[in-house]
């Protein structure tokens, strides 16, 4: 027996189906950083209904080699099944390419509270070979920080340390 969400108990409109499916998929946490959802990160791109009544969820990878990509697709599938949608397809889309600008302001705040410095706002120094980025410490708010390593614990993060409070922290790389 699968549960039927209230929104589409009887002859639901396509819009309400889509909304219910979006709500279910959007709540899926990021497997690497579970304080944010895939909707917060901008990884969940769209939910639509095809001609055969199949729910199509489109997700996008952050980095090409992100090992969480497959897991996220599986989690979206399960979340939709759990919400009563049986006919579900999860697609991966590459274009337009994901950027950190797609992380919602709520997502940024959640990252900060979790101790990960959110990506700096779009900077024109991304292409500059040694472009300096001002990264603020998520613990004490100081701008006196230094990069320890360009590459961190996941493909999307770099390792920093705060020179004011001495705490090391992850920085979600601007991408």
């Amino acid at each position: 027996m699968t549960r039927t969400p209230d929104q589409h108990a009887q002859n639901p409109s396509p819009q309400s189906l889509q909304q219910a499916a979006w709500a279910a998929a959007a709540a899926v946490p990021d497997p690497e950083i579970p304080v944010v959802t895939i909707a917060d990160l901008g990884i969940l791109r769209s939910i639509s209904l095809d001609e055969e009544g199949c729910i199509v969820a489109q997700v996008t990878p952050t980095y090409s080699g992100c090992p969480a990509t497959n897991l996220i697709q599986q989690m979206v599938l399960e979340a939709l099944n759990e919400a009563g949608f049986e006919n579900v397809r999860v697609e991966s889309v590459l274009s337009p390419a994901w950027t950190t600008d797609w992380i919602s302001s709520e997502g940024r705040e959640k990252l900060r509270q979790f101790g990960i410095a959110p990506p700096t706002e779009t900077s024109n120094s991304k292409r500059a070979l040694f472009g300096e980025t001002l990264v603020t410490c998520p613990h004490c708010g100081s701008g006196e920080t230094e990069r320890v390593s360009e590459f961190g614990s996941t493909p999307c993060k770099a390792l920093y340390r705060c020179l004011a409070c001495r705490e090391p922290f992850d920085y979600f790389k601007c991408h």
Partner: protein, 260 residues
């Protein structure tokens, strides 16, 4: 009628070949870098090299999946990566060269990243939507690779006498594999004419500029271009590729179709 079919088939085969060789470049280089995992000079560098390898394998995966789709014979990314023989691989020779010491690994990565940085940026405006989409992601990732390796080139070149000498040696050893980066064969030519491919020969000046700017800061020089090695695109490899493949493909060769 049949003429049209044939020409579609040929152009599909060319596209398949073009995408496949790019995928091979990325897979083989990724496998090489992966050998550093647990062996790098510092923990941060261990993470960095593994992360770069991860980016490359992600790019390879997208390319293999697309190649399989273009080919239309039901081969998926795993079959293309694990079930082809040495002579079927079309990667550039530089990608299969041994890691050597850290200087060799850095120079190899620096040469390739400088090249791929220009390559992917141009590929973003390819007429082939999938290649353009893969390029849009890859070009952002390679920016980091280029920055990271550039920093090491400067640190090692302008470091101690020992590190400087090792860099000079690495540059000398790897220079002969850079000619192949800018070669255009019939496949590349056809892809270029149809607006799908990138004119690799046109990237040379940009590559030289990028590389020389960094080398100058590193108190190093780009060696004179002497005899250039070639053959990767036609499956004629150095002795190293077979060894890489034997390790890479061992599981799938022993237990075909194995999953876990």
């Amino acid at each position: 009628m049949s003429g049209t079919c044939e020409s579609i088939m040929t152009s599909n085969q060319t596209l398949f070949s073009y995408v496949l060789r790019l995928a091979d470049d990325h897979l083989i280089l990724s496998q090489r870098l992966g050998e550093w995992c647990g062996e790098a000079p510092t923990l941060e560098e261990d993470l960095a090299l593994a992360n770069i390898a991860l980016d490359l394998i992600g790019q390879a995966r997208a390319l293999y999946a697309y190649a399989g789709q273009v080919e239309g014979r039901g081969r998926d990314e795993d079959q293309l990566a694990f079930m082809r023989y040495e002579r079927d691989y079309q990667n550039l020779l530089i990608t299969e060269q041994p890691n050597g010491d850290f200087a060799h690994t850095i120079v190899r990565q620096f040469f390739i990243s400088a090249y791929m940085d220009s390559f992917w940026r141009r590929m973003e405006s390819s007429k082939d939507e999938m290649l353009a989409a893969i390029a849009a992601k890859a070009s952002k990732e390679v920016t980091y690779h280029l920055r990271h390796t550039s920093e090491w080139v400067i640190r090692l070149g302008d470091g101690t006498r020992e590190s400087h000498e090792r860099m000079v040696e690495a540059l000398d050893d790897l220079m002969m594999f850079t000619g192949e980066l800018f070669e255009i064969d019939a496949v590349a030519q056809e892809m270029l004419q149809s607006g799908v491919g990138v004119d690799a020969s046109d990237l040379k000046a940009e590559w030289q500029h990028t590389v020389q700017t960094i080398l100058q800061e590193a108190t190093l020089e780009l060696p004179k271009a002497g005899h250039m090695q070639t053959g990767g695109r036609t499956g004629r490899h150095s002795e190293h590729l077979g060894h890489i493949l034997s390790e890479l493909q061992y599981m799938q060769r022993s237990f075909p179709g194995l999953t876990w």
